[in-house]
């Protein structure tokens, strides 16, 4: 999930949580506020009544002796005032919620009770306001609040999203630059325009890092070239000298043979340097992958090339599969070399009447080449060191530097091809080349 969406979602969730909490607590709060307001009103009314009584006396309220109570309520029974005589020893002074029956209708009231002494008689004053009239205002407030909060949340989510998008645009640009690069030299070096210092620092750090890596790559290339020059020059001097010697007339056959042996040894040195250079060059990306090649054509060419040798050794190379794969972004020479090394290796390690099978197939969008031999197979330890440089399976095989499979592996990595090796001791070895998924 993208950072800006995550941020906006987090904001939304936290707002929802706070709003929810507020909505749960709001009734209690509003009730408290309302009650204290109502209580204030009730006390005010009580003061009003008391001040009237002290002005005009209690008599006008207590018209007849027969009735020892006075009551008055407004037309909607929302409020009432009552006065009654009570015993001297009773002392009431509190506010409570209590039901009253007025004209046969039971209504919940918030009632202020207040007892006072006039002319040696104790009176109880009750001032009440119906609870439902309080509730109506609380409910109204809650409704308005809810609509308002939802509105606020929606608006703020949209603006958050927009703002985050705007704020994180430089980061998008930086990740975009990283996505596009195949190697450090192709890194887009343009500055990202931003006022956010974090992004500025990130951009600068990345650019410096890429420049540094690029420089190291270039240095490595230079070293490769220099080593190749330093090592191959003495080899070529020796080679020319020996070849000139060999061309002399009337050379003793024994000496000829010795010279040829020296040339062979020299060649091993040369091919060793060549192989190491090749690996170094592939790893420092000095080869291009710009060709589109048919794997079938490459395999056919290799089989044709190796067939005379295989037939001479009584080995049968079978390649009947018609399945082909147009591999784009390839280097033909390198891929040829990769398959050649593996198939030639199979030929070398097969005994007479051995069979080498080459099979191509598609599995879930991936092209796979299987090369299997009927040789003696490999142990697990042998498989684990198969692609290591200079670890030959058969140390007595004489020629070759034991680096052929290491080269194949380097080329495979370069083309993002996976190599899987399976082997049954005594039943042969299978190399699977799994090509990158076709998009």
């Amino acid at each position: 999930m993208k950072l800006k969406l995550k941020l906006s979602l987090f904001n939304l969730l936290s707002k929802l949580a706070f709003t929810g909490l507020f909505l749960i607590l709001m009734p209690f709060i509003i009730e408290r506020i309302n009650l204290s307001q109502v209580d204030k009103d009730l006390i005010q009314k009580r003061e009003l009544v008391i001040s009237q009584i002290s002005e005009i006396g209690i008599e006008p309220f207590m018209i007849s002796d027969s009735s020892d109570a006075f009551g008055s309520y407004n037309i909607l029974k929302e409020e009432f005032i009552s006065l009654e005589r009570i015993d001297l020893n009773e002392n009431w002074n509190f506010i409570e919620v209590t039901p009253r029956i007025i004209e046969g209708e039971e209504i919940e009231y918030r009632v202020l009770n207040y007892s006072f002494l006039i002319d040696g008689q104790m009176y109880l004053l009750e001032v009440g306001r119906s609870v439902s009239s309080i509730g109506v205002t609380a409910g109204n407030i809650r409704k308005v609040m809810l609509i308002f909060l939802i509105f606020i949340i929606v608006i703020s989510f949209v603006t958050d999203l927009q703002y985050n998008h705007f704020l994180l645009r430089p980061l998008d640009k930086i990740t975009g630059k990283l996505k596009k690069i195949g190697e450090p030299s192709s890194f887009d070096k343009t500055h990202v325009d931003t006022t956010t210092t974090d992004f500025l620092q990130l951009d600068i750090a990345l650019r410096e890092l890429m420049e540094h890596i690029d420089l190291l790559f270039k240095k490595e290339k230079e070293i490769t070239v220099n080593i190749s020059h330093e090592l191959l020059t003495p080899v070529s001097v020796l080679r020319s000298k020996l070849e000139n010697l060999l061309l002399k007339d009337d050379l003793d056959p024994e000496i000829s043979e010795k010279i040829e042996e020296s040339l062979k040894t020299l060649h091993r040195l040369q091919s060793l340097v060549d192989s190491l250079l090749l690996i170094a060059r592939i790893e420092s990306r000095q080869y291009l992958r710009e060709e589109s090649i048919s794997i079938r054509e490459v395999l056919k060419e290799i089989v044709e090339e190796l067939n005379p040798i295989a037939q001479d050794a009584g080995i049968d190379i079978r390649y009947d599969s018609d399945t082909d794969h147009k591999f784009i972004k390839a280097n033909r020479i390198l891929l040829f070399s990769m398959f050649y090394n593996v198939i030639n290796n199979a030929v070398k390690h097969s005994s007479c009447s051995g069979i080498i099978n080459i099979d191509c197939l598609f599995n879930k969008n991936k092209f796979i080449v299987n090369i299997s031999d009927s040789g003696i197979g490999l142990s697990i330890e042998q498989i684990s060191t198969l692609f290591a440089r200079f670890k030959m399976r058969n140390q007595n095989s004489g020629e070759g530097t034991g680096i052929g499979l290491a080269i194949a592996k380097t080329i495979a990595d370069f083309h993002r091809i996976d190599i899987h090796v399976t082997s049954n001791s005594g039943k042969g070895t299978n190399f699977s080349f799994i090509f990158p998924e076709i998009s």
């Binding site: 080899v235 070529s236 001097v237 080679r239 060999l246 061309l247 040369q270 192989s275 050649y340 070759g400």
Partner: protein, 236 residues
Amino acid sequence: MNVLIVEDEKSLADEIAHFLKSENFLCDISYTGLDASEKIAINLYDFILLDLGLPDYNGLDLIVEAKKTSTEASFIIITARGAVEDKVKGLDLGADDYLAKPFALVELLSRINAVARRKFKVTDSEIILGEFIMNVPSRKLLAGNAEVDLTKKEYDLLQYLVLNSNKVLTRHQLYEHIWGNMLDDQYDSNFIDVHIKNLRKKLNFHAPAHWLETVRGVGYRVSREKWVISKDHDET
């Protein structure tokens, strides 16, 4: 033919000169780029063998200079720098061929000859090998009226031996010529032996080919005397 060898590695330059002199070339040697630049300005050369890795001079500049003074010289670039860019640049500047160090002297000779044939428009015609006729332009080997059915590799092998007749070629020299500088360590002398064996089988089916000799412990050779003798023998 006049050849200028531009190579800072003294002993290598001397060996190349020694070899080319034995092949009847007239050789000059420059160990520095500056010296080469002067020699090119004064003398006329047919070939310039140019090492690109000169310490005092960018080898590619020498090509530009030489082309300006309208020399007729053909350039063959020699370098240990196997980098593709150098090769492309050199060939773009008008070099005729490219050899990576270390190379076989016979390979150098065959490249020079190939460039010379192109340059002087020499059309290879037919080479008579005892009972066989090698038709170079059509890349065919005929035995009487019948064509000997050779694979591409077998033909290449035979032609290389024939063009370098009377020289012993090692298996490695043959391998390198035919497979190029394969990008691996799979040089296998057995390859050449198998191809020669098949080649002999095919030749012997038509007529004996004693001229294709195995030199024990060294390699193979096509002997000019023997093919002439068998030819004479045939005619008499």
